[in-house]
Amino acid sequence: MSQLLEIERLGKRFGGFVALDEISLSVATGERVGLIGPNGSGKSTLVNCICGTLRNEAGSVRFDGQRLDGSTAHQRTRRGLARTFQLPRPFTSLNLLDNMRVPLLYTVTARGGSRTVTEIEARCVELLREVGLEDKARRLPRELTQVEMRKLELARAMAAEPKLLIADEAMAGLTHSEVEDIVGLLKRLNEQGVTIILIEHIMSAVMSFSQRLIVLVSGRKIADGLPDQVMRDPDVERAYLGQ
């Protein structure tokens, strides 16, 4: 399996605070990777650096064989990287359908090949249907519940037809069955060929979803392997229970 994402000695500081300390990891095409760690361990900073929202000071990010250094966030999205935000960030003045339209207009069509207006409209509806938001297509995001916002966030990331999707705490605050829904959705996506990195605190989701588990503590990677083995790692135990 080829490596879709290769991160080498990634470093990021905020003033004197070291958020990411020489992190190296890689993700193979088609993998389902879980990323866990206590609050403030740098998970979101890592996502931001990978996706270009933040600029890393040290190290490199390689995606699909190409270095991403210096490219902007939207360029990385067009290359096939997509992410959800921890706190959903929908386009508040656009209805749900139009929220789906934007990645289609700016990412998918930018990659080449044109689509007619009807094709795009149909695809938007289809995306909403996959997350169960089809009947709210013409509503505005502010009329959605917490759960629905998170589903919208996922759908919008999927609209960009990514090769790699990073789901950043997409399930916070959801009920057990809602979590299962999303895990199922992500597994279906993965079966369609999307590599997925799942960042979560909900251990049941992480364990049932991940083929491989990476643990981040204080900006450093302390474990990387099969989920069962990682969970039995004494360092990991200490990180979660000791502090």
């Binding site: 996706c51 270009g52 929202t53 902007t72 966030a73 939207h74 360029q75 999205t77 067009r78 997509a82 992410r83 935000f85 706190l87 959903p88 960030r89 929908p90 386009f91 508040t92 003045s93 656009l94 139009d98 339209r101 934007v102 990645p103 207009l105 700016y106 990412t107 930018a110 013409r138 509503r139 505005l140 995001p141 502010r142 009329e143 959605l144 519940t145 917490q146 629905e148 916002m149 919008r156 990331a157 609209a159 960009a160």
Partner: protein
């Protein structure tokens, strides 16, 4: 409605407007109407960057004045017919807009707004110190009394501004309905999420700045002919800065209709007011209206009309009512 049909309807309406004004027999209508139409262009232009993208430009007067002063400079170099001057004014302002945008649009909206303020002052200082265009003393432009087939020259100027207004509104509406319009809206709503969805925010913002600046420059190009004697204080005047912000915010920023309504309403009121009350009171009223609308009616007159229409008890058959009492979803 397709844009070309819209454009034709606008032209037809403009022809009717012109005929109506001519029928009144008093040329003052054309003088006043010119100013109102000027504001239609300025507000529509401002709204492309301000309302659609969410980036506030305090330097509308600077782009307007650039258009006016490029006319003065050309007039001394080699007099040209006004339509050419309009194009030149547009190009000059567009290029300056591009340069300024390139320097400042990577920053947050607040810094961009402040930078536009700085630009306006720097430009004004440059012009005041540039004797070729008259500096602080001002520059005279002699305009002919009449021009066939319009008759009085002011009717010619009025027509030019009328066509510019139609053009500006058509461009704004075109943008709104295009892929560009969606991109602009995402920049306004959430720039970070826009980038993550593949929207090239810097490029789009630059496009908006150039279009906006160019339109403002085009509005300024005929101004020296309108006013006869151009001074920096009138070209860079306060009323342009305030009005080009107040009119879209009062009219409504989310579509091309808002700036049009704002400009026509506020512009006409001010034209009536300058005859009856002082210009200072005029500006005071605009300032108060701006603050009041921004607090009470953030979506402007257009927003108020929409709200009124949605709360009517009877619905058109088949039209779904948008529910607005879903629980607050954002944490």
């Amino acid at each position: 409605m397709r844009s070309d049909i819209f454009f034709l309807i606008c032209l037809a309406a403009s022809a009717a407007l012109y005929a109506g004004a001519a029928a009144l027999g008093n040329d003052y209508v054309f003088f006043a109407g010119y100013v109102v139409l000027q504001y239609v262009v300025l507000s529509t232009a401002w709204n492309i960057l301000g309302g659609y993208c969410g980036y506030v430009n305090f330097g509308s007067a600077a782009f307007f004045a650039l258009g006016a002063y490029s006319t003065v400079a050309m007039h001394k170099l080699h007099p040209l017919p006004i339509p050419f001057l309009v194009l030149i004014g547009g190009v000059v302002s567009g290029v300056v807009g591009l340069g300024m945008g390139y320097l400042t649009l990577r920053l947050r909206g607040a810094f961009f707004a402040i930078a536009t303020l700085a630009l306006a002052v720097v430009l004004q200082t440059l012009v005041v110190n540039w004797d070729y265009v008259g500096g602080s003393r001002g520059a005279y432009i002699v305009r002919p009394e009449t021009l066939a087939p319009f008759g009085p020259y002011i009717r010619y100027l009025f027509t030019i501004m009328l066509l510019l207004a139609v053009g500006a509104v058509t461009v704004a509406r075109l943008i709104e309905r295009s892929r560009l319009g969606y991109g602009f809206a995402t920049i306004r709503d959430d720039e970070l999420a826009a980038e993550a969805s593949g929207v090239p925010t810097l490029t789009l913002k630059l496009i908006a700045t150039v279009i906006s600046g160019a339109l403002m420059g085009m509005a300024g190009a005929p101004f020296p002919y309108y006013i006869g004697f151009l001074q920096p204080s009138s070209a860079f005047g306060l009323d342009y800065a305030v009005n080009s912000i107040a009119m879209p915010l009062i009219g409504g920023t989310t579509s091309w209709v808002g700036p049009l309504i704002g400009a026509v309403l506020l512009g006409s009121l001010q034209q009536i007011a300058t005859v009856t009350i002082s210009s200072a009171v005029n500006l005071l009223i605009v300032g108060c209206l701006l603050v009041a609308f921004v607090i009470i009616a953030p979506n402007g007159i257009v927003g108020l009309v929409q709200r009124y229409v949605q709360h009517k008890p009877e619905d058109f058959v088949g039209r779904r009512k948008v529910e607005t009492d879903a629980p607050e979803a954002v944490p």
